[in-house]
Every structure is written in structure tokens, then in C-alpha cells.
């Protein structure tokens, strides 16, 4: 593999998932945000305002491309049209890395537009390893995969989620986007210790954290990304920055999106916590 794919992506600070509701606040102001994660599919369009906005953002800030449709765990063939469009966008954007989710989104040509779970079996591992290797070779950019929130577990699973992810990184060299909220949600739903998950992930593979909110349904939690980060997730974030850090982090809000001013304190908080754990960050900022 080329250096671009194998070299560790840089630490780029503390950012936000770019949403259209904030375009004018970002471009007309100068918010204290280090970088933006953009949803790749939102910009995989022929032209017009979306791409103009993206051009303005990428001129001012580092950008990471985050997709939702790679369907890396699907048993249907890789969608080469999708990957070609993704690569074309990456050539234009020059993201620091490209990410997507460790999940599948459909089979038989159907896209369910959801991040679907699968059993953590050796069969699945072999299948996904092969696909990750192909995608990395094709994209020629660092690829990071994100752990998803899940609501069901399969009888056939032979490995824990963290064992599966660890093996995947060892066998492919892919990077990890650790969604701290998703670890919390899945730990509640599947009754495992979130710290065991975190401590089971290789220290040197995590290049990004997501921080987000969720909805509690008493017997299960749904990863809604529509609310402020919960206290329990902040505690996990501290553990993550200690184990893996310093790691680039964003606040990811997908629904019930407030004005930018309401999200800036959360961005400040991810920055402050990381600086408390890694004093060199505070020194660099000063």
C-alpha cells in the first residue's frame, strides 16, 4: 500500500459534523472549531450550492469525509459506482481521512438507509477483511471504520464486538473512528462493560472520536444523535482520551439540530477534557 494509506492520519483537534443548518453561521462568522466532518453522500451530487459550500469550507478548515453507504459488511458485491464517486469526491476535497461504518445497509440492490448489525463470526471477519482491503486499495486514502450502535445480538456471534474490531484492524491496517456514544449505547443494549470494550481496542488504531446524544427507552437505548452528550458518555470520553489520545474528536448532531452557539460549549468541553488529560494540547493552544 502507498504511504498515504498506511501513514497515521494527523491529529487535527476538535470539530463538528457539518450540517446545512449551520452553513451561514460558519461562513459568516469565525467559530472556534478546528475542523469539520462532512457526510460524503450529501456532496456526492452533480453540482450546485452543496459543492460550493463544501469548497468554501475546505478552503478554511481541515475536512474529513464520513460516509453512510459503503455497506462494508454486506454480502452483496461492493458498489463500485459508489466507491468511484466517493473517490472522485475525495480527490476534490483532499480529506484528512475517509470514514464509514462497520455495518451493512442492504442486499439484493436494496438500500435500507440504516446501519445494520451482523453476527461477530469468523466467517463475517474473513468476508469484511477482504472487502476492507479492496476498498483501501481502491480509495488510496486512509480508511477509518466506525463502531455502530446496535439493538440486537446474534446467537452465532463467536467474538465480542471489540475482539472483532481488533482482529479487523490487525488484518487490514484500517483505522478506527470510535463513536463513544455508540460504545455506551451498545454496552447498555447488549449488557457488556463499556470499559472492557474500550480496553479491548488496540491503542494505536483510533484516529477519531464521535460524541453524541441518545434516547433512553428504559430497556434499551437508541442512538438518536438528537440531544446533548450525556454524563455517562462524558465519563467514557475521558477514558478514551486517556487510552487512545490525544485523538481528534467531533460533536455529531444528526437531528433536532440547534443553533451553532448551543453546540460550541460541547466542542469546548471535548477540547478542555482532552487538554486536562494531555497537557501538551493546552500548551500548543496557548
Amino acid at each position: 500500500m502507498s504511504d498515504l494509506k498506511t501513514s497515521r492520519p494527523p491529529f487535527i483537534g476538535f470539530g463538528l459534523g457539518l450540517r446545512s443548518e449551520h452553513y451561514s453561521e460558519i461562513l459568516e462568522g469565525d467559530p472556534p472549531i478546528d475542523w469539520f466532518e462532512v457526510v460524503s453522500e450529501n456532496f456526492m451530487v452533480p453540482g450546485g450550492r452543496p459543492l460550493q459550500i463544501l469548497n468554501q469550507i475546505k478552503e478554511r478548515y481541515p475536512v474529513v469525509m464520513h460516509g453512510v453507504s459503503m455497506s462494508i459488511a454486506s454480502t452483496q458485491p461492493l458498489d463500485m459506482d459508489y466507491l468511484t464517486n466517493l473517490k472522485r469526491l475525495a480527490k476534490h476535497v483532499q480529506p484528512k481521512w475517509i470514514s464509514d461504518h462497520l455495518c451493512w445497509t442492504g442486499v439484493h440492490g436494496v438500500n435500507l438507509h440504516d446501519l445494520l448489525p451482523f453476527p461477530y463470526t469468523n466467517e463475517a471477519l474473513d468476508h469484511i477483511v477482504e472487502r476492507v482491503n479492496k476498498v483501501q486499495d481502491f480509495l488510496d486514502h486512509p480508511l477509518a471504520l466506525e463502531n455502530v450502535s446496535s439493538y440486537v445480538s446474534f446467537k452465532q456471534s463467536e467474538l465480542s464486538e471489540w475482539e472483532f474490531i481488533s482482529e479487523l484492524t490487525k488484518r487490514t491496517g484500517c483505522w478506527l473512528l470510535l463513536d463513544v456514544n455508540n460504545v455506551f449505547v451498545s454496552s447498555f443494549n447488549h449488557e457488556f462493560d463499556a470499559l472492557e470494550f474500550i480496553n479491548g481496542i488496540p491503542e494505536d488504531r483510533v484516529v477519531q472520536f464521535h460524541m453524541a446524544g441518545h434516547s433512553d427507552h428504559e430497556t434499551y437505548i437508541v442512538d438518536t444523535h438528537d440531544a446533548p452528550v450525556r454524563d455517562e458518555v462524558w465519563e467514557l470520553y475521558k477514558a478514551c482520551q486517556k487510552r487512545f489520545g490525544p485523538v481528534s474528536t467531533i460533536i455529531e448532531r444528526d437531528d433536532n439540530i440547534p443553533p451553532l452557539s448551543e453546540l460550541l460549549p460541547e466542542i469546548e468541553k471535548i477540547r478542555t477534557i482532552a487538554a486536562e488529560i494531555h497537557p501538551s494540547l493546552a500548551t500548543e493552544a496557548a
Partner: protein, 256 residues
């Protein structure tokens, strides 16, 4: 033992058709039963697709109201499961689906309203090809005019409405009381395009619409003038055609 492929097929069937065979692959937790947990995915599927349609067709949603829109959306996604990795294209068949829906036989304005919104969406993120400018247009020699042909910018699309859907769209867009639907005595001709970064509509007169449509089929300026001769005295037709052409160039309807 089920393979990954088997499990994914069964899981997908549980979402698309509520076939819960996949439950035999899933475990209960100490807090909740597996069918409830699977239901999170089943519920999220429909809710997400309806949300995509609400975002793409906001005035159609407002016109129909939440309950009817949800019912029609469910009919739609059952008939047209998403087949594109980009949610942007999930609703591309929705206007035609509404136009043909049995329950809307007496409400043809609904399908036309959705067609209007789809055209706006296409204009919004159409390719960024350079438009023909007035300066570039003026470079053509008078002797070249008769054979000139005109290519539409990809952001443009034409609509011919048989109802007052355009008035309904306008009232919804302005937040005014929604006008009562009715069939038009005469067809309303519209063009949709992107100008100054905004997706826009404007009505076209019948003669302008006719020569626009013919120009897009390849008719040259001389032929367009002849066609306008069916509406105007033949000596006025070239001037009329030049006037329309200038308006198209000014509005960025044409590519360079």
C-alpha cells in the same frame, strides 16, 4: 448453521416485509425481548424514508397533512424500496407515483405539486456547467443566426400543468392560505432552473414554451422563427424569437 448471507437476507425481509424469521437468529437480553429490539430497526426504516420524502417534498407534505402524507409515503416505499446508496435519489419516483395513485385520482394537483418540488430539487444541485452569456452570444455573426441551435443548461426542466398546482405551490411557499385546487382551463407552462444559485420557476407563454421545447429537440433559430409564425405575423416572428432568446440567455437557461 446460517451463513452471513442467510442472516442478512432474513434481516432485510424482516424490515421490508415484517417477516420475522430472523428472530431465530437473535437473542433476548435480560431487559428486553428480541422482537421488541428488532422492532427498533423495523420502525426506524419507515420513519427514515418518510423523513426523506418530507424533506424533499415539504409543500406536498404541508398540502396533504401528516397523516395522508405518511400513508402515501408508506405506499411509495413499499412499491419503490430505495435502490440508491444516496438518499438524495430515494424520492425520484414519488411525483409519478402520486400522479398514478388510485386514491388521488380526483386530486391531480398533488402529483403536479410533487413534480414541481422535484424539478426544484434537480435544479438545486444540477451540474455546474457554464451558462451562455450575453457577451458570448453577441459574438455570433448575423449570418450564423439561422443555423444556430441552443442547448439547455442541465438545471432547467419544463413542466406543463393541468391543474393550479403552481398557484398552490406559491401560496404554500409564501405561507398564505392554500388556494383551492382546480383544473386549469388551459395548461400552465413553466420552466424551472437555477439562477444566481437559487432554484426558480417562471411561467412561459405557449409560444415561448413551444419554441423552447422544439429548440431542445434540435430545431435551429430559423426553424424556431418559422414555428413562431403560427402565433405571430411572419415579419414579427424573428424579433419575437430574438426576444425570447435574449431572455433565456439573461436567465442562464442555456449552456455555452
Amino acid at each position: 448453521m446460517s451463513t452471513l448471507k442467510d442472516i442478512q437476507e432474513k434481516f432485510q425481509q424482516s424490515i421490508l416485509n415484517q417477516d420475522e424469521t430472523v428472530l431465530e437468529e437473535i437473542v433476548d437480553t435480560s431487559k428486553e425481548e428480541r422482537d421488541v429490539l428488532l422492532g427498533v430497526y423495523q420502525h426506524a426504516y419507515g420513519a427514515r424514508l418518510i423523513e426523506f420524502l418530507e424533506n424533499d417534498y415539504p409543500h406536498t407534505y404541508n398540502y396533504l397533512g401528516d397523516e395522508i402524507f405518511q400513508t402515501l409515503s408508506k405506499d411509495y416505499y413499499e412499491a419503490h424500496p430505495s435502490d440508491d446508496p444516496n438518499a438524495r435519489w430515494f424520492g425520484r419516483h414519488f411525483p409519478e407515483f402520486l400522479s398514478r395513485h388510485d386514491e388521488l385520482h380526483s386530486n391531480p394537483e398533488v402529483g403536479e405539486l410533487a413534480h414541481l418540488e422535484y424539478a426544484l430539487g434537480l435544479a438545486f444541485d444540477a451540474p455546474d456547467l457554464p451558462s451562455l452569456t450575453l457577451n458570448a452570444f453577441r459574438q455570433y455573426r448575423p449570418e450564423d443566426w439561422p443555423s444556430m441551435t441552443f442547448k439547455a443548461h442541465p438545471s432547467t426542466s419544463r413542466l406543463s400543468l393541468q391543474t393550479n398546482a403552481f398557484e398552490i405551490w406559491t401560496s404554500l411557499h409564501k405561507g398564505q392560505d392554500v388556494v383551492t385546487s382546480k383544473s386549469n382551463a388551459m395548461i400552465t407552462e413553466l420552466i424551472c432552473w437555477r439562477g444566481e444559485n437559487m432554484a426558480r420557476f417562471r411561467p412561459m407563454s405557449y409560444d415561448e414554451a413551444m419554441i423552447w421545447d422544439e429548440a431542445q429537440k434540435g430545431a435551429n433559430f430559423s426553424q424556431l422563427c418559422e414555428m413562431l409564425g403560427t402565433y405571430w405575423p411572419s415579419e414579427e416572428a424573428p424579433l419575437k424569437a430574438a426576444g425570447y432568446l435574449q431572455a433565456w440567455v439573461n436567465s442562464e437557461f442555456l449552456v455555452a
